[in-house]
Every structure is written in structure tokens, then in C-alpha cells.
């Protein structure tokens, strides 16, 4: 599997298909036991600021205010910048993600959607060219989920140079709506059962997309692949 620079790749799979493990390997949080994993030609041996991660559970530090949670990331990314300037920059990231009212608050005071916005702000503040997102919107209600998907696309499309994003999800529509490319993991963990291009124009319009034929075709193709995989596993069992 090769992920080119600047791509937005959706990693789709059922629970237990190893998509989170794959993401943790890419982040350097888990060690590779066999096979090869490289980043810009160099083997991944541990975490790096080059690869930001947003987890499915809200992993902001609850004892730091939202702005301090962002500031700590900037402090690591740009150690020479003075604290006052770092705080200003942190506030800017939060404003960009629509969190101007949450700057001085603590994560426990925020809704799930706002916390996840702050988590994305922190990942952006790290300045990593690669973002690894592990079901970041999995715990959100449909409205917030759609909003944050659009926000993510907006942030990604505006950034120059474009960040590379690996987006892990088990939601087929989300995977298609966001990705340039769809990698489907099978139920025997760690096996790629499909690698499909998403032939949809950008910027994507949620409403017109819902009626588009290419979306329907793709969705059916993915569903058929997943079904076949499940049947094979049942046969094997």
C-alpha cells in the first residue's frame, strides 16, 4: 500500500479489521513486528511531530484549558516562539475551527463536537504534513458529524501544501464523501480487500452527491466487497 503526498485516503473496515492498529503503526505508537512501514523512505520507529493523530475518544488533556491544549502542541512544534505568541497562535487555530467561545474553557465543559474540533485544531497546530485520524467523528450525532466532515474538507482543501490525511472510519458514506481513495480492510485482520478510486469532483457538495450515480455505484461495490468478505469468513469458520 502506498499513500501519496497530499492525498486524502479513507481506510474503511469493520470492527476488528485492524484499521486502528494500522493507524497506530503509522503513528509509531506500536512497533511493526513483520513487514515494512516507511515514511518518506525512512522506516517508522516511533512517534514524530511529522505525523499528527486525532483519536476517536477525546484525548485532549482535561486539566488544561482548551487554549493550553493547543499551546502545548505549538510549543513542541516551534520551541523558539515565545509563550505569548504561542497563545495568540493557539487562539487563531481555535477561531479558524469555530471555537472562539471555547478558548478559556476546559474540555469537560465542551460538547463532543467541540472537543473534537479542538482535537483537530491541536493536530493542525503540530504542523504535521501527515494527519492520521482514527474515527474522529465516530461518537458525534449526525448533524455535528456532517458539519465536521465539511470543516475537515475545507481545512484540507485550503492548506498549501496540502496535508496528507489517512481517515479511518467504518461508515461507508463518510469514507466516500471524504476520500480521494478508498482502502477497504477485510475481516481477517490486516488484509486489503479493495482499493478503489473515488471519482467525485471537488469541492464536494453533500446534497448533489447524495443523488449522484457514481456514489451509488461505489457504495454498492463496497457493500458487495464487504458482504463477500463476511461470507468467506463464515464459510471458513
Amino acid at each position: 500500500m502506498h499513500i501519496p503526498e497530499g492525498a486524502l485516503v479513507s481506510l474503511l473496515g469493520a470492527r476488528g479489521s485492524g484499521k486502528t492498529t494500522l493507524l497506530r503503526l503509522a503513528a509509531g505508537l506500536n512497533a511493526v513486528s513483520s513487514g515494512r512501514l516507511t515514511w518518506n523512505g525512512v522506516a517508522v520507529v516511533g512517534p514524530s511531530l511529522q505525523r499528527g493523530v486525532v483519536f476517536q475518544d477525546y484525548a485532549l488533556f482535561p486539566w488544561l484549558s482548551v487554549v493550553d491544549n493547543i499551546e502545548i502542541a505549538i510549543a513542541k512544534a516551534k520551541p523558539t516562539v515565545r509563550k505569548a505568541e504561542r497563545l495568540v497562535e493557539a487562539g487563531q487555530y481555535l477561531r479558524d475551527l469555530g471555537l472562539e467561545t471555547a478558548i478559556g474553557k476546559y474540555p469537560g465543559e465542551l460538547s463532543g463536537g467541540m472537543r473534537q474540533r479542538a482535537a483537530i485544531a491541536r493536530a493542525l497546530a503540530l504542523g504535521s504534513p501527515l494527519l492520521l485520524l482514527d474515527e474522529p467523528f465516530g461518537a458525534l450525532d449526525p448533524v455535528n458529524r456532517a458539519r465536521l466532515q465539511d470543516l475537515l474538507l475545507e481545512v484540507w482543501e485550503l492548506a498549501r501544501p496540502r496535508k496528507t490525511i489517512v481517515f479511518v472510519t467504518h461508515d461507508v458514506d463518510e469514507a466516500i464523501y471524504l476520500g480521494d481513495r478508498l482502502i477497504v480492510l477485510g475481516s481477517s485482520p490486516g488484509r486489503v480487500i479493495a482499493d478503489l478510486a473515488v471519482p467525485l469532483e471537488r469541492p464536494r457538495e453533500r446534497r448533489s452527491l447524495l443523488d449522484s450515480h457514481s456514489l451509488h455505484g461505489l457504495r454498492e461495490q463496497v457493500a458487495a466487497t464487504l458482504l463477500e468478505d463476511t461470507l468467506q469468513r463464515l464459510k471458513a469458520a
Binding site: 511531530l49 493523530v53 488533556f61
Partner: protein, 276 residues
């Protein structure tokens, strides 16, 4: 007070159910809640007053009446205040040192599996030793009584704080550890900005146990060789069979302990405001 929900152009009225009808027999005012919480005190005080009068006691009653005790307390206040200062001069340094060393060493050990293998077996043996047994030896070894008492208070408060700090560091959630690694925090930053705040609930539990121990050890140590202090005050008047002053000293010491624990709890609430 009522709100309306528009439902298919039909208005449904929503009226909150009064609390009293949810909990039958619940008292309506704050006054009665206050009465509930002081009722134990009132009953105990009445029992004390009745018992002190009706129990067959001699010239020098072992259970002096509340009024006599209150008088003794009032007259002893200057002595008791001096005793408080003398006791706090032992308690505060001992407890503060135990907190500092207990938290620093506990978090250091708690974040290293090797240090845990080295130190935890030792802590399991040394921790449960009742610190009171060190008192005579400490008094013999250290140059002044005050230093020995500080040492004993320190030992008593250290272990619960150390053990809870280790437990707090161990209980750190995986997601915060992952987060710290992704941010690339140095070991010191990790300790200070992640492990320490995450372990604070455990640390405060250890401090509360340690503070209660400190008071026990303080007063016991004062029985041995002090010439001032709260424990010494009680022992002194017990030796003279001055029971009103002795009981007053017991009550006063209880109050000081209660105030110290309340203060610690207030600090805990402030420090842990972020906890849901």
C-alpha cells in the same frame, strides 16, 4: 412556570413536577436540612448532659458536665492556642516534606517499571510498619524532640502519599500516554504536565490519609517528650486528674483536626475543578 412544545401545531403544556411530590415526606426548607445534620450533635450533647448529672460520680467526676467543660475550655484557650502553634510547627514541616518527597518519588517510581520492580517490594514491607514504633528510637537518635517528632510525622504521612502517587501514575489512561508520545514531550514535561495532574485525585486521597496519620503520630509523639502541644496538653491534665481541661483538650484537638481536613478538602476541590 411552564414551557410549551409545538407538536403538529398542537400545543402541549409541560409543567415541572414539584420536588416535594417526587420525594414524599421530604422537608420543604433549608432549615430542616440544617437541623438534620446537627441532630446527632444535639442528641449526643443531651446524652452527655444527662449522664454527667445522673451517673454516680465522686468529688472529681470522670465525666464533667458540658457547662464545666465549656468553662475549662474557655479558660484554657490561651494555653490551647500556644499548644496549637507548637503542634503545627511539627505537623506542617513533617507533612509538607512527606507530600513533596512522596509525590516526586511516587510518580518517578510509578512511571518506570524497573523502579517499581526495585522499590515496590521494599515499600510493601516498610510501608505497613506502624510508625509509632519509631518514636522512641527517633527521640534517642535525633538531637531535639522537635526534630524527632517531625521525622515521625514525616514517616507516617510519607507511605500513604507515596503509595497513592504510584497508583495514580499507574492508573494513567493509555490515551493520555499516547497523546504525550505524539506531542513528543520530554520525560520531565511528561511528569509535570501529564502524569502529575492525572494522578492528582490519587495524590489527594493519599494526602488525606497521610494527614490523619500525621495528627495521630503528632499527638502520640507529644505524649513521649514534649513540653508543649495538643497531645501534651491532654496528657498533662490527665496526669493531674483535671478532667474538665482534659476533655476540653480532646474536643479542641478534634476541632483542629477537622479544620485541617476541611482545608485539605477545599484545596482538593479547587485543584480538581476540571474533573467531571
Amino acid at each position: 412556570m411552564s414551557d410549551y412544545i409545538a407538536l403538529a401545531k398542537q400545543e402541549l403544556s409541560v409543567t415541572p413536577i414539584p420536588a416535594a411530590s417526587i420525594e414524599p415526606g421530604a422537608a420543604p426548607g433549608r432549615l430542616s436540612h440544617a437541623l438534620e445534620s446537627v441532630s446527632v450533635w444535639i442528641v449526643l450533647l443531651l446524652f452527655w448532659a444527662v449522664a454527667s448529672v445522673h451517673l454516680p460520680q465522686g468529688e472529681n467526676p470522670l465525666l464533667p458536665s458540658p457547662v464545666i467543660t465549656a468553662q475549662a475550655l474557655w479558660e484554657s484557650l490561651p494555653d490551647l492556642w500556644a499548644g496549637t502553634l507548637s503542634s503545627l510547627a511539627i505537623l506542617i514541616p513533617g507533612f509538607a516534606l512527606a507530600t513533596l518527597l512522596g509525590v516526586v518519588s511516587g510518580l518517578t517510581v510509578g512511571t518506570s517499571s524497573r523502579l517499581q520492580r526495585v522499590f515496590l517490594p521494599f515499600a510493601q514491607v516498610a510501608g505497613p510498619v506502624p510508625p509509632t514504633v519509631y518514636i522512641p528510637y527517633a527521640i534517642a537518635i535525633l538531637p531535639t524532640f522537635k526534630l524527632s517528632a517531625i521525622f515521625v510525622v514525616f514517616i507516617g504521612a510519607f507511605w500513604p502519599i507515596f503509595q497513592n502517587s504510584v497508583a495514580g501514575a499507574n492508573a494513567l489512561e493509555q490515551r493520555y500516554r499516547d497523546n504525550a508520545r505524539i506531542l513528543g514531550l520530554t520525560r520531565f514535561e511528561y511528569q509535570r504536565r501529564v502524569v502529575f495532574p492525572a494522578a492528582l485525585p490519587h495524590i489527594f486521597t493519599g494526602m488525606a490519609v497521610g494527614l490523619a496519620f500525621s495528627f495521630i503520630l503528632l499527638t502520640v509523639a507529644e505524649l513521649f517528650g514534649a513540653n508543649a502541644g495538643l497531645g501534651r496538653f491532654v496528657q498533662y491534665y490527665a496526669d493531674f486528674a483535671d478532667y474538665p481541661r482534659m476533655v476540653a483538650g480532646i474536643l479542641y484537638t478534634g476541632l483542629v483536626t477537622f479544620l485541617a481536613m476541611t482545608l485539605l478538602d477545599a484545596v482538593r476541590r479547587r485543584a480538581l475543578f476540571w474533573l467531571q
